[in-house]
Amino acid sequence: MEIPEPKPKTKREIRKDNNVKIRQVNEVLTYNVNQKKVLSRYHKKQLLKKTNAAKRVKKGSKIPGRAPVPKGVVKKYDKGDGVSTRGITGIYQKEKWKNKENQFKKATEQSARVEILLSEKGGGIEADEGEKTKDIKQIDIVKNVDVASAAKSFELHLNEFGPYQVKYTRNGKHMLLAGKLGHMASFNWFTKKLACEINVMESIHDICYLHVDTMFACAQKKYLHIYDNTGTELHCLRKISNINKLEFLPYHFLLAAGSDFGKLQWLDVSVGEVVGSVLTKQHGLSTMVQNPYNAVLCTGSTKGDVAMWTPNCQEPVAKLFCHKSPVTAMDIDPSGLYMATAGSDFKVKIWDARNLEKTLQVYKIPYAASNVSFSQTGLMAVSNRQNLDIYRDCCATATRDQYLVHRFKQTITNMKFCPFEDVLGVGTQKGFTSLLIPGAGEANFDALELNPYQYTSQRKEGEVKALLEKIPYEMISLNPSVITEVDVPTMKEQIEMKQKLHFIKPPQIDYKPRNKAKGKGGSVNNARNKKIAQEKVKKDFYQKLSELEEGEKSNEETKKSNVKANNPILQRFL
C-alpha cells in the first residue's frame, strides 16, 4: 500500500483579508497531545485532597469554604431519589443506608466538581458576517492547522479492489479498510503503521473490529471470518453466512450480523456461541446500525420503517414508520439521543432515539442520501455519490445550511467519523480519504473507559476488565434501566402461591374394606381401619406441605452452596 505524500499546495493564495477567519488555529483542531489532560486517578486524588482541605475550613472564618457546584451539573450525575429511612427496617440498617446515601450524594457532587478538569474544548470554524463556513475548502483548513493535525488529512489511492469500506476502533486509534474485491488492511492510521494487509480472495461485504484492535471480523462472500492483527485467520464461522452488515456491541461482547436473507444473528465472541437469531423478513438487509444507548439493532426497510431488534424477541421490539419511501441510510449518535434516517424521498429525519415519539427535525435535501453518519459532538455527515455535506447543530434545533461541504471525484461508499479526532474517514470507489472536520471529535476522554493513547498492557488489562463487566445478552431491551427494577408480576405470583399453600386441604379418600369372611371383619374393625387410613393420608399430606414450605428456604441455601461448589469463576460468562 502506498501512502502518497500530501499534495503540493496550490498556488492560489488565500487573500489576507479573507473574511473567513479561522479562529485560533490551535483551537480549531483540538488535538494536541501535549495539551491533553487525562484525568488519571492520581489527579483525582490530588484534587480531592485540595477540596477536602478547603472543606475543613470552619464556619465563621474569613476563608471561604468550598466553591458551590452548579446545580445543573450536579443534576447530570444525579441518579434519582435516595432511599428514605422510613422504607428500611432495623436501626442498624437505617444507619447504614443513611451513611450510604451520604456517600452517593458525595459521589454526585464530586463528579460534578471534577468536571472542571475537563478543560479541553471542542474546536470549530466560525464565519464572519456575510460568509459561510461551507465555503471553506479542505485545503484551506489543512493549510491553517498545525503540522500534526495536517498530517491527519491524507488520501489513499487504491484503484484495484474498490469500493472501500472503513471502520475505526472505539478509541479511534486503528482503522480497518476493506475493498469489495478482497483487499483488507488494518493499521494505526495516525502513525500509518500497518498491522496487516491481506487479500482474502473473496468478496468482502463488511468488516468490524471486535472488542480490541487485535481482532476483527470480516463478512466474506459466504461465511464470517475472524482475523487477528497479523492477518491470521482465527475462525471461520459457517453458522453465520451471507452477511451484509456487521456491528459489534462492546459491552455485551456480541457480534451482530445481518444476512442477505434478512436474518439477524448475535454471536457472543467471548464464548463463541450464537446467542440469538431472528428473521426480519427484510431481504437484502442494507441498513443496520446499533443504538449505543441500549444495544438494540435497528434495521431500515424498503417500506420506510425502521425496526428495532434484540436477541430475546423474534418480533421487533419497536417499529418506527419513518418515510413513505425506502429507508436508504440511518445512524444513531454515539450518546444515543438522536437517530437520523434518510429515505429515497430526499428527506432526512431526526428522531428522538429514546422515546421514539417525536420527529425532531425534517430536512429536505436535493438527493437521496446513501450514507448518514454522526460524530461524537453531533455533527451529521450526509452523502450521496460524490457529494458530502456536513451539518452542525442539526438535531435539537433546525439548521439552515451546511457546516462543511466536500465533493469527491469518486462515489462515496462508506464513511465514519473517527472517535476523539476531528477526522472523517471516507471510503470511496477508488481509495480512502481522511478529511479534517473541525469540532467533530470529543475533546475530553475518559482514559479508564476509552483511551486513544492506550498501550499494550492497558489494552490487556482493559480486556479483562471488560470481560468481568460483560452484560448478559438477555438484558438487551429498549429501556436499559429496566434491570434496576423489580419484577413485580412474578413477585405477585410468588406471593399468591405462598398464600395458597395455607388453604390447601388434604385429599379425601374413599375407603372400602375388603369383604372378609364372617366373623373376621366386623363393623367396628372396619370403622377403625377407615379412620387409620384417613389419618395416614392426612399426615402424609401435611408433611409434604411443610416440606414444601420449608423447601423454599432450604432450596435457596442448597442453590447457593451448589453455585459455589460447581461453577467455576468464569461460568457466569456463559
Binding site: 483525582k44 486524588k45 480531592l48 441518579k79 434519582g80 432511599v83 422510613r86 428500611i88 427496617t89 432495623g90 436501626i91 442498624y92 444507619e95 450510604k100 456517600q103 452517593f104 458525595k106 459521589a107 464530586q110 463528579s111 417500506k303 430475546n312 424477541c313 419497536a318 417499529k319 414508520f321 413513505k324 419511501s325 430526499f346 429525519k349 428522538d352 429514546r354 422515546n355 415519539e357 420527529t359 427535525q361 425534517v362 430536512y363 429536505k364 435535501i365 436535493p366 437521496a368 455535506d389 433546525a398 439548521t399 439552515r400 445550511d401 451546511q402 463487566e469 438477555e474 438484558m475 431491551s477 434501566s481 434491570i483 434496576t484 427494577e485 423489580v486 419484577d487 412474578t490 410468588q494
Partner: protein, 765 residues
C-alpha cells in the same frame, strides 16, 4: 471556756500570787454549785464522737425509774402499763425464703442492668459504624497533644514566630467541685424528706379510700369527678382550645363507653325485679326513672358554647353557606351582604306592618273575617306555618296559595322546587325571600281581586308600600341571580366531581432517569394540590381533563403527531462532477422509485400492522355460552343475545399502550421472559417496599461510575485489623468518649424506645 480564756489573759497581763488566785477560783466555784463544763454540742457534722465530750449526766430523770415507784394498785398498774407501752412498731417478720430470694434477684437484675446499660451507646455506635478498625485507637494518646508535639518538626518560620509571640500558658481556674454548701445540702435533704413523708401520706390515703366499700360514696366521687372535668373543660375552652379538644375527646370517650354499656338502662336483674314491683310502688318507679335520667345525663353530648354573637344564629344554613363559601367566588361573597341587607329591610318592613296592624286593629275590629285575606300579608311575614294556618280558615284562599307556591317554585328554579320545605325551614334568608315573594304575589292578588278593599288604605301608605316593593324586588332579583347561580354550580359539582375522582386522576408514571427530550403532546396537568382550592377553577380544570380523556379514549391508530416543519436544504450539487451514464440512469431510477412510492399506501399498511399488533395483545372477551343449555339448540338456531351477553366474560376494553396515539410507532409489549431471569423477584430484607429497593440499586458503585474516594469508602471492609497487634477487649476507658456515640444512640433509640431495649436485654438474660 470563757473563764479559761480570761484566766490566760489574766496570766499574761500581770503576775499575781497563785495561791490567792486558786482560792478565788474555788470560791467562785463554790458560789454556784453548777458545773462549768457544758454539755458537749457539735458544731460540725462529724461521724466520730470525741471521747472528751463524754460527760456523766445525772440531771435527767428517767421514766423507768419514776415508774418503779408506782404501786400495785389497780389504777396505778393501768397507768404503768400505759406508760410502758412502746410507741415503736414491731419489726415485721422476715419474708419467706422464696419471696426473699425473689427480691434479691430483682435487685441483682436491676443493678446488672444498670451496669450493662452504660455500654449501650458504644455498642450501638460500633454496630452502626460503616467500618471498624482494630485495635481501637487509644483515645488518651490522641488527646494528649503535648505528646504529639514532640514528634512534630517545626519550621524555621514557626520557631521564629514562637520566639516573637511566646505561647501563653492557660491558667486553669479551679472550680469548686462541691456546688452546694452544707446548709443548702441540709435544706435539700430536709425538703426531700418532707416530700417523701407527703408521698407516704398520699399513698396511705389513696389506699384507704380505695378500700371503702360504700357504693354511694364511689358514685358521689365519680359524679364529682365528672363535674370537675366539665368545669375544667369549660375553663380550657376559653384558654387553651387544643387542650380543650383533647379533654372533650376524653369526655366523649366516657360518654361513648356509657352509651355502649347497658348501665343505667334498666336492663339488669335488679331493674327487672324493681319493674315487677313498680306497678304497685311509685317510689320504685321513681328510682327506675332516676336511673334512666341518669343514663340520659351521662350520654348527653357536650356542645362547646358559642359566643354571644354566634349564639343567635348558628343555624344549619349558615353552616351550609360557610361550606359553600369560597373566597374567590364573588357571588357567594356578595351573597352574604345582600342577605343582611334584605334582613334589615325585612325587619323594617315587619315593623311597619305591625304598626299598621295596630292602626287597623283600632279602626276595624268589626270586619275581621273580611280582613283575614288582607291581613294574610303581615302574617306571612311572621312565619310560614302560621300563614298557612290562617289561610286554612278560608278554603278559597288555600288553593290560591298553593298555586302561588307552585308559581314560586317555578320561578325560583327547578332545583329549589325539589326541596322547598326544607329550605323554608333551614334557611333564614330563603324564608324571607319566599315570604316576600308571597307578599309580592298577594299584593298582585290584592290588586286584582280586592281593589274595593284597598280603597280604604291610605294613599300614602300605598305609595310607600309600592316604593318598598320596588326596592325589594330589585334586591330580590339580585339574590335570586346569585342563588340560581349557586344552585347551578353545586349541580355541576355533583355531576362532575365523581367522574373526576374516578377516572381523571393523572396517571403517575415512573420517571425516566434521563428524559430530557420528552415533549408530550397531552397536557397532563397534575394539579392535585389545587383540586380543592377553587371549585370554579376546579370545574374548568376538570372539564379540560375530561376533554383530554375523551381525546385519549379515541385512540386512532392512524393519528400521527404532526412533524416539525420541513427545512429545505439547498445543497448545490456541483455540475462540475460528470455523471457517467450508468449513474445517471441509477439516479433516474431512484427518482422513479420515489415517485412510485408516493402513492403507495405504506402509511395504511403500517396502520394496519399496528392495529393487528394491538389486537394481538388486547385481552378478548370469552364466550361461555353453551348452546342448547336451558333452551333449544340446533343447526339453525341462534343463541339469544341476552343469554350470550350474560355468559360472556368481559374484559376491560382497552389496555393502555405506550404507543397509543402515536401513529408512526409500534412498541412490542410482550414481556421479555429472558430478562426476567435476571430481575429480582422479591424485595430483600431491610427494605419495605419495591420503590425503596429500586431506589437502593439505582446508583452504580464501581469506580468507573463514582469517584475513587467514594468508591473506596463504599467498598471498604466492615472490619479491619492491624497486623501484629494484640486486640484487647474494650475497657471502661472507652466509655469516656461519648458525645458522638450518644448522638447515634439517641437517634437509634429515641426516648420512648428505651423500654424496648431493656426488654430485649431481659429476654437475653
Amino acid at each position: 471556756m470563757d473563764s479559761d480564756v480570761s484566766k490566760d489573759s489574766y496570766n499574761s497581763d500581770s503576775d499575781i500570787d497563785e495561791k490567792t488566785h486558786s482560792k478565788l477560783l474555788e470560791n467562785v466555784l463554790n458560789l454556784s454549785k453548777k458545773k462549768l463544763v457544758k454539755k458537749p454540742t457539735r458544731t460540725e457534722a462529724t461521724s466520730t464522737v470525741s471521747e472528751f465530750d463524754l460527760v456523766k449526766s445525772s440531771g435527767n430523770v428517767r421514766l423507768l425509774e419514776l415508774a418503779k415507784g408506782l404501786g400495785k394498785s389497780k389504777g396505778e398498774a393501768k397507768l404503768a402499763k400505759r406508760l410502758f407501752k412502746s410507741t415503736a412498731e414491731t419489726i415485721r417478720k422476715p419474708a419467706e425464703k422464696i419471696e426473699a430470694d425473689r427480691s434479691h434477684r430483682r435487685v441483682a437484675y436491676k443493678s446488672t442492668q444498670q451496669a450493662l446499660d452504660k455500654w449501650d451507646p458504644i455498642v450501638t455506635s460500633m454496630r452502626a459504624a460503616p467500618t471498624l478498625s482494630f485495635p481501637l485507637i487509644d483515645q488518651n494518646l490522641e488527646k494528649d497533644e503535648s505528646k504529639l508535639e514532640c514528634w512534630r518538626l517545626k519550621s524555621e518560620l514557626q520557631q521564629k514566630l514562637e520566639e516573637v509571640d511566646p505561647k501563653i500558658e492557660e491558667i486553669h481556674v479551679e472550680t469548686n467541685s462541691f456546688p452546694l454548701t452544707l446548709q443548702e445540702m441540709l435544706e435539700k435533704r430536709q425538703e426531700a424528706a418532707k416530700m417523701r413523708v407527703k408521698m407516704g401520706y398520699e399513698l396511705a390515703k389513696a389506699k384507704r379510700l380505695k378500700k371503702i366499700k360504700s357504693k354511694t360514696y364511689h358514685r358521689i366521687q365519680k359524679r364529682d369527678k365528672i363535674k370537675q372535668q366539665l368545669k375544667e373543660f369549660e375553663l380550657l375552652q376559653k384558654t387553651d382550645s387544643e387542650a380543650a379538644l383533647a379533654k372533650l375527646e376524653e369526655i366523649e370517650k366516657v360518654r361513648a363507653l356509657e352509651r355502649v354499656s347497658l348501665r343505667h338502662k334498666n336492663t339488669g336483674a335488679w331493674a327487672k325485679n324493681k319493674q315487677i314491683r313498680a306497678k304497685y310502688n311509685t317510689d320504685i318507679r321513681k328510682v327506675l326513672a332516676n336511673q334512666l335520667s341518669l343514663s340520659k345525663e351521662l350520654t348527653q353530648k357536650i356542645k362547646p358554647k358559642y359566643d354571644s354573637d354566634d349564639e343567635e344564629a348558628p343555624t344549619q344554613q349558615t353552616q351550609v353557606n360557610q361550606i359553600n363559601k369560597d373566597p374567590s367566588n364573588p357571588w357567594t361573597n356578595s351573597n352574604l351582604n345582600i342577605s343582611k341587607e334584605v334582613h334589615d329591610f325585612v325587619s323594617g318592613y315587619r315593623k311597619y306592618w305591625e304598626e299598621k296592624n295596630k292602626m287597623e286593629k283600632g279602626e276595624e275590629e268589626n270586619s275581621k273575617i273580611k280582613r283575614i285575606t288582607d291581613c294574610s300579608t303581615p302574617m306571612v311575614v311572621e312565619s310560614v306555618p302560621e300563614n298557612v294556618e290562617t289561610l286554612k280558615e278560608t278554603p278559597s284562599m288555600e288553593c290560591e296559595l298553593h298555586d302561588f307556591v307552585k308559581d314560586e317554585r317555578l320561578g325560583s328554579g327547578d332545583k329549589v322546587a325539589n326541596k322547598p320545605s326544607k329550605s323554608q325551614k333551614i334557611t333564614e334568608w330563603k324564608v324571607e325571600k319566599v315570604q316576600v315573594n308571597k307578599r309580592k304575589e298577594t299584593k298582585k292578588i290584592e290588586n286584582k281581586d280586592f281593589k274595593v278593599a284597598d280603597v280604604r288604605l291610605d294613599q300614602k301608605l300605598a305609595m310607600h308600600d309600592q316604593k318598598l316593593q320596588n326596592l325589594f324586588r330589585e334586591k330580590m332579583a339580585k339574590i335570586m341571580k346569585s342563588w340560581n347561580f349557586k344552585v347551578a354550580e353545586s349541580e355541576e359539582k355533583e355531576v362532575v366531581r365523581p367522574s373526576g375522582n374516578m377516572n381523571l386522576r393523572p396517571v403517575v408514571t415512573k420517571p425516566d432517569l434521563d428524559e430530557e427530550l420528552l415533549e408530550t403532546a397531552g397536557n397532563d396537568s397534575d394539579d392535585d394540590d389545587n383540586e380543592n382550592s377553587d371549585p370554579l377553577k376546579n370545574v374548568n380544570v376538570l372539564k379540560t381533563l375530561q376533554t383530554a380523556e375523551e381525546a385519549r379514549e379515541e385512540i386512532d391508530p392512524k393519528k400521527f403527531i404532526a412533524p416539525p416543519k420541513t427545512v429545505y436544504l439547498t445543497a448545490d450539487v456541483p455540475n462540475l462532477v460528470t455523471f457517467n451514464e450508468e449513474q445517471a440512469l441509477e439516479e433516474n431510477d431512484n427518482q422513479v422509485f420515489a415517485e412510485a412510492f408516493e402513492d403507495d399506501d405504506v402509511t395504511n399498511e403500517f396502520a394496519k400492522e399496528k392495529a393487528e399488533e394491538i389486537e394481538k395483545f388486547n385481552p378478548k372477551a370469552v364466550d361461555l355460552t353453551l348452546p342448547g343449555w336451558g333452551s333449544w339448540g340446533g343447526k339453525n338456531l341462534e343463541v339469544p343475545k341476552k343469554k350470550r351477553d350474560k355468559f360472556t366474560m368481559k374484559v376491560p376494553e382497552k389496555l393502555k399502550r405506550r404507543d397509543d396515539n402515536i401513529g408512526h410507532l409500534i412498541i412490542n409489549e410482550t414481556p421479555n421472559l429472558k430478562l426476567r431471569q435476571h430481575l429480582v423477584t422479591e424485595v430483600p430484607k431491610p427494605f419495605k417496599s419495591v420503590k425503596d429497593f429500586e431506589s437502593s440499586i439505582r446508583q452504580p458503585l464501581s469506580n468507573s461510575f463514582v469517584p475513587e474516594t467514594v468508591f473506596r469508602k463504599l467498598s471498604a471492609p466492615k472490619v479491619t485489623t492491624k497486623m501484629g497487634t494484640i486486640i484487647k477487649p474494650m475497657d471502661e476507658d472507652v466509655l469516656l468518649l461519648k458525645e458522638k456515640r450518644a448522638k447515634i444512640f439517641e437517634r437509634s433509640f429515641p426516648a420512648k424506645d428505651t423500654r424496648k431495649v431493656h426488654k430485649r436485654r431481659k429476654s437475653k438474660i
